[in-house]
C-alpha cells in the first residue's frame, strides 16, 4: 500500500524534516504515527498524498511512484485516498451535505447518484439528522465526522488522518477514533498522526514513532524481530 524507501525530505529554508526513513504500510492496516511536535509526522503524510516530493529516496503509494509521478496523475491518486485534518477544512458557507457533495462533484460523479450517496455517508458517520447544518452550527466532533464522510466519498483504500482528534475533547476523541476503527474494519487502511499518547498506547495498533525526522521506533519491526526467537524452554 505505502512504501517509503530511504526517504529524505529537505525544505528549502528549514532544512531536513525527514531523514532516510524506510517503512511500509500494508493493505487494510491501521498505523499510528507519533512523535514530538516538529518531528516530521505531517511531512510523512504529505509525502504519502504527494503534496510534497522527497528530496531523495522514493515513496510508493498504491502503485504510484514519487520518482516518476506526473502532476496530472496526482488527482487520480487523491481519489483513491481520504484525507482528514485537525482543522477539518470544511467550506464554511456550505452545509454538511453540500460539503460532502462537493467532493463528489469535483471528481465527476453523476449528478443523480450524489444525494443517495451523501445520505449513506452521513448515516455512516452518525450525522443523518445534521445534513442541512452549516459547519458553524456543528460541534468539533461533528465537523470532523463531516470531514471523514467527505474523505470516504470515493471509497478510499487508504485514509490519512493528521491529528484528527487534536481539537477535540476526550469524549469526541473516543467517538472519532471508534469511527476510524470501524472504517478500518471494513477494509480501509488508516495512517493516523497523533499526539495523544494515551490513545496510541491503549490501542492494539501498530505505532511508528518519529523524532527529529528519524523513525526511532516501529512496533511492527519489534514484533518481527521477536517472532523468529525460539520459545524459551
Amino acid at each position: 500500500m505505502i512504501r517509503f524507501s530511504h526517504v529524505t525530505k529537505e525544505y528549502p529554508r528549514s532544512g531536513v524534516a525527514l531523514n532516510n526513513a524506510s517503512f511500509t504500510v500494508a493493505k487494510g492496516e491501521f498505523a499510528f504515527l507519533t512523535g514530538p511536535s516538529g518531528a516530521g509526522k505531517s511531512t510523512i503524510l504529505k509525502l504519502v498524498y504527494m503534496e510534497e516530493r522527497p528530496t531523495s529516496g522514493e515513496v510508493r503509494v498504491g502503485g504510484i511512484r514519487s520518482s516518476d509521478v506526473k502532476r496530472r496523475e496526482i488527482p487520480k491518486l487523491r481519489r483513491r485516498l481520504g484525507i482528514v485534518f485537525q482543522d477539518f477544512r470544511l467550506l464554511e458557507d456550505r452545509t454538511a451535505e453540500q460539503n460532502i457533495a462537493f467532493a463528489l462533484e469535483v471528481t465527476g460523479t453523476a449528478r443523480d447518484a450524489i444525494p443517495a450517496k451523501v445520505g449513506r455517508l452521513l448515516t455512516q458517520v452518525g450525522l443523518a439528522s445534521k445534513g442541512t447544518s452549516f459547519p458553524r452550527e456543528l460541534s468539533g466532533g461533528e465537523q470532523q465526522r463531516v470531514a471523514i464522510a467527505r474523505a470516504l466519498v470515493n471509497d478510499p483504500v487508504l485514509l490519512i488522518a493528521d491529528e484528527p482528534t487534536g481539537n477535540l475533547d476526550e469524549r469526541a476523541t473516543r467517538g472519532i477514533f471508534q469511527l476510524l476503527r470501524d472504517i478500518n474494519a471494513s477494509g480501509t487502511a488508516v495512517l493516523m498522526a497523533s499526539h495523544n499518547l494515551e490513545l496510541v498506547r491503549r490501542s492494539e495498533y501498530r505505532v511508528i514513532e518519529v523524532t527529529r525526522g528519524q523513525i526511532v521506533f516501529d512496533s511492527a519491526e519489534r514484533a518481527a524481530a521477536e517472532q523468529p526467537a525460539p520459545p524459551a524452554v
Binding site: R72, P75, R78, R79, L91, V106, R150, N154
Partner: protein, 283 residues
C-alpha cells in the same frame, strides 16, 4: 458546465464587492486604453485628411494632342499607386485661381494658365519616395512640360505620420500592458479569496482543469462586462468632447468596438488563466 456556472455564481454571491471592484477595475483600465484609442483614431483621421491633399501636378505643353493626353490619363490612372487623375483645362485652372485669390482677380484676366493633370495617390503611397517615383514616370510623357509637387511638405507630413504612428504604437502597448497587469492583479485577488476552496478541491482529487474552469468563465464574463462599461464611458466622453468643444470627432466603428469588448473578455480570460496557473504552480 452547469457545475461551473453554479461555482461562478457562488463566487459572485460570496464576494459581491470584490466582483464589482474587479469589473470596475477592468472597466477603467479599458476606458483609459479606449480614450487613448480615440485620440489615436482622431489624430490618424486628421492626418488622413491632410494627406489626401498630397497631389502631383503635371503641366501639359501647349497644343498637346487630345488623344495622346486621354490615353495617358488612362495609363496613369492604372498605375498601382494612383487613386485618380483629373484633367484641368486652362479655363478650369483660371476659374479656380480666381476663386482662390478673389481680390486679385484682375491679375488673372490676361494670364493664360496651362492645362494640367492632377494626380492623387492611394493611401499608403503618399511617402516621399513613391511620390518622387510617380512624378518621374509622369515626366517621361513627351507632352508633359513640367511636374510639380511640394516635396518639402510631403516629406514633413511623412515625418509627422511616422512619429505619430510610432508614438501611438509604443503608448498603445504601454497602456495595454498596464491594463493587463492591473486586471491580472485584480483577478489574482479573486483567486486568493478562494484559495481555501481551491486547496480543498485539490485535496479531494479535482484536476487542475476542473479547478481552473470557473475562474476562466468568471474572468471572461468580467472582462466582457468591464469592456461594455468602458465602451459606454468612452462614448460619454466622446459626446462630451464633441458637444463642449464643438469638434466633429470620430468614434469607434461598430466592428472595432466589438473587438474592443471582446478583447476585454480575452484579457479577463488570460488574466484568470495566469493567476490560477500561478496559484496552482505554487501549491
Amino acid at each position: 458546465m452547469r457545475l461551473t456556472l453554479r461555482e461562478v455564481s457562488l463566487g459572485l454571491k460570496r464576494a459581491p464587492l470584490l466582483s464589482v471592484l474587479s469589473v470596475l477595475t477592468i472597466a477603467f483600465s479599458l476606458f483609459a486604453f479606449g480614450l487613448f484609442g480615440l485620440v489615436a483614431l482622431n489624430v490618424s483621421e486628421a492626418l488622413k485628411h491632410v494627406e489626401e491633399r498630397v497631389e502631383i501636378r503635371a503641366f501639359l505643353a501647349d497644343g498637346a494632342p487630345i488623344e495622346a493626353v486621354s490615353a495617358a490619363v488612362g495609363d496613369i490612372a492604372a498605375f498601382p499607386e494612383v487613386a485618380h487623375v483629373d484633367i484641368i483645362t486652362p479655363e478650369q485652372a483660371l476659374a479656380r485661381a480666381r476663386k482662390e485669390m478673389g481680390e486679385f482677380q484682375d491679375v488673372f484676366d490676361a494670364a493664360v494658365l496651362p492645362a494640367s493633370l492632377e494626380i492623387r495617390l492611394k493611401p499608403g503611397y503618399r511617402d516621399p519616395a513613391t511620390v518622387r517615383e510617380v512624378a518621374e514616370r509622369v515626366k517621361t510623357y513627351s507632352f508633359v512640360d513640367d511636374v510639380r509637387y511640394c516635396e518639402e511638405w510631403v516629406q514633413k507630413l511623412y515625418n509627422i505620420r511616422t512619429i505619430a504612428g510610432a508614438t501611438g504604437l509604443v503608448l498603445g502597448i504601454a497602456f495595454a500592458g498596464v491594463a493587463i497587469i492591473i486586471i491580472g492583479s485584480t483577478i489574482r485577488m479573486t483567486v486568493l479569496a478562494r484559495a481555501r476552496e481551491i486547496s480543498i478541491m485539490r485535496l479531494v482529487g479535482a484536476t487542475d482543469a476542473f479547478v481552473r474552469r470557473p475562474f476562466l468563465v468568471d474572468g471572461f464574463a468580467k472582462g466582457v462586462v468591464g469592456g461594455l462599461l468602458a465602451l459606454a464611458l468612452a462614448w460619454v466622453a466622446y459626446r462630451l468632447v464633441d458637444q463642449t468643444l464643438g469638434i466633429s470627432s470620430a468614434f469607434f466603428k461598430t466592428g472595432s468596438a466589438a473587438v474592443g469588448v471582446l478583447a476585454g473578455g480575452v484579457i479577463g480570460l488570460l488574466g484568470s488563466a495566469m493567476s490560477v496557473g500561478r496559484h496552482l504552480r505554487d501549491v
